[in-house]
Subunit: 334 residues, 2 copies
DNA sequence: ATGAAAGCGCTAACAA
DNA sequence: TTGTTAGCGCTTTCAT
């Protein structure tokens, strides 16, 4: 029942275990005839090398760890996909874990990943890590923190300023004539939403406008957005621009406004964040902020794979701002 | 630079390595005072147990392997999320790999996963696995094949009939008066699309109608859908119902039809597959097929975690049909 | 409650 | 080109 081992294969092939090991890892270091016998024995026995044993013996593994807040958000999934694409192309496995925005879970995840002695760890949406940060730093394992710009990166930081993005979006909305903007989020305190709101607040403050905001959750982002729109209408809030922390909120809000008889962008402009796939096909199209999600994942993988990681980190920049771009569409002409 | 080991912790704590091991795994098997000293030493040294060594010594790990066709499709991501949620709640890590619908990659992935000696392997969207199937079966590792109903499951099969779903959807569309249905897919040969088309064909055949179909790709599913709609209009195809293999295709098609002046569902009905988040907020709402994606992931994890896996598989059913439901909305009244 | 010895399956280093 | 020896870091079994 137990799996065949190197020894079993060696016996079948009539060679020593180390020869099998070599035949599998460095085929050229073994005589062609030997190699053939080993290959045959491998097939016959159904041998699959034990990665744990190999890692223990060699001291090197072939794994990336990725920590994401949640797989519910398409942007993190896009990042994961970019990373996984690159990793897989290099024969590196990817283990993924969700923090669910819970600090303790983030800690536990990091510990578990460190235990696997991965070749690199990517943190999408860096969490506060009271103890974990120290462990990560001491582990010597390459770490990329992505999605936002952080204070003092453990390893490399790849991201953009959520605050700046929202500030610019809000500024342009105000410049287009909107005087009563409201910021909407699903979870007031979650990760990047805080930073986005602060960017919004900076822009309103600069224009001498109040920084009003509303938070509401729902079964999905769309429903949350619909709830937000409904609340705004029900409360007869003075609002001529709804700036949402995410595209699905915006989409849900637009749909609900339409249902309630408000015209977008005539009565109210609506903007989102993320430029999700559907942003362009809505009617009207969604004005939003585009971010290179997948690219960040790819970059993270490329850096973690870099054999010169240490030097590169020492010589080069420790933070890479990938920027963002504002996509103006019909829902909020800019 | 190298990580501290059990020995290092033991030295600091003034006990033997095995005592540290016990203090960490079975705290109750050790005197409270000893435990305290060990915990202190662990913190002081920043010790993180090596999972590979533990797995090698104990013969048991704490990992799930998940094989998905692609992380681009939201339904597989939902499934992954359901599985990961459950796994994480039980302290099990999840490694994920994409086949990109390439058989060789599926094989390589399965091999890599088997090498990690995981506690279970989930295949979302089972691929053909000429050699891999044998390895999987022989490995003794619990395997769940999910998303579709397969011929002869390796372990447990959790899915639904894509063909039946499409047949029923098509039947109802025909019953509603549509006589010139066309099936649309992004990739003609990919996985489940084949089965969905065959269900479509069964329904048209039963009604004495031709089984027409169109395939077109694009930068995204939405763009592919738009291209499909454009092609239908450009070719002046007689089509009063477009049945898409995925919701994003349908959404893109609806948008394009609108742009081209066709009324949905007046001139043409459009249906999708998947009931993605946005299906309900489109205008008109999207008629589609809903499938318990996340639930399949949760079920898969629960089964793989079952300590009685073997017996349960021997006694219970080897396949679980989770079914589907057709959601009729404005884009195709049924 | 604690420890000593052995070994999990593999690979690095050194022979032959 | 092939084999021998030792040991990776941990847990098991068997003492004490």
């Amino acid at each position: 029942m137990s799996n065949p081992t190197l020894k079993d294969v060696a016996r079948v092939a009539g060679v020593s275990p180390i020869t099998v090991s070599r035949a599998l890892r460095v085929p050229d270091a073994v005589a062609p005839s030997t190699r053939a016998r080993v290959d045959a024995a491998v097939r016959e026995t159904g041998y699959v090398p034990d990665a744990a044993a190999a890692q223990l013996a060699s001291g090197t593994g072939n794994l990336f760890g990725v920590v994401v807040p949640t797989l519910e958000a398409p942007y993190f999934v896009d990042g994961l996909r970019g990373l996984a694409d690159t990793a897989e192309a290099h024969g590196v496995s990817v283990t993924v874990g969700q923090t669910s925005y819970i600090e303790a879970r983030a800690e536990a995840l990091v510990r578990a990943m460190l235990g696997a002695r991965p070749r690199g760890i990517a943190m999408f949406g860096p969490e506060p890590l009271p103890l974990g940060r120290g462990l990560l730093a001491r582990s010597g394992i390459p770490v990329v923190e992505a999605w936002e710009l952080v204070e003092d990166p453990i390893g490399l930081n790849i991201g953009f300023s959520h605050a700046a993005a929202m500030r610019e979006l809000t500024e342009r909305l105000i410049a287009s004539g909107r005087r009563r903007p409201v910021f909407a989020a699903r979870y007031a305190a979650h990760g990047r939403a805080v930073q986005r709101r602060s960017g919004f607040a900076e822009a309103t403050a600069a224009a001498g406008l109040p920084a009003r905001s509303i938070d509401r959750d729902g079964a999905s982002g769309f429903e949350a957005g619909a709830a937000i729109a409904a609340a705004i209408v029900a409360d007869r809030q003075e609002c001529d621009a709804l700036i949402c922390a995410a595209d699905n909120l915006a989409a849900g809000a637009i749909a609900e406004f339409a249902r309630l008889g408000l015209r977008v962008p005539g009565d109210i402009a609506v903007a989102g964040f993320g430029d999700l796939d559907f942003a362009g096909i809505l009617e009207p199209g969604l004005t939003t902020v585009r971010v290179p999600n997948r690219e960040m994942g790819r970059m993270a993988a490329a850096f973690l794979l870099d054999p010169d990681w240490r030097r590169r980190l020492a010589d080069g920049p420790r933070a890479i701002d990938v920027g963002y771009s504002i996509v103006a569409r019909g829902s909020a002409p800019l």
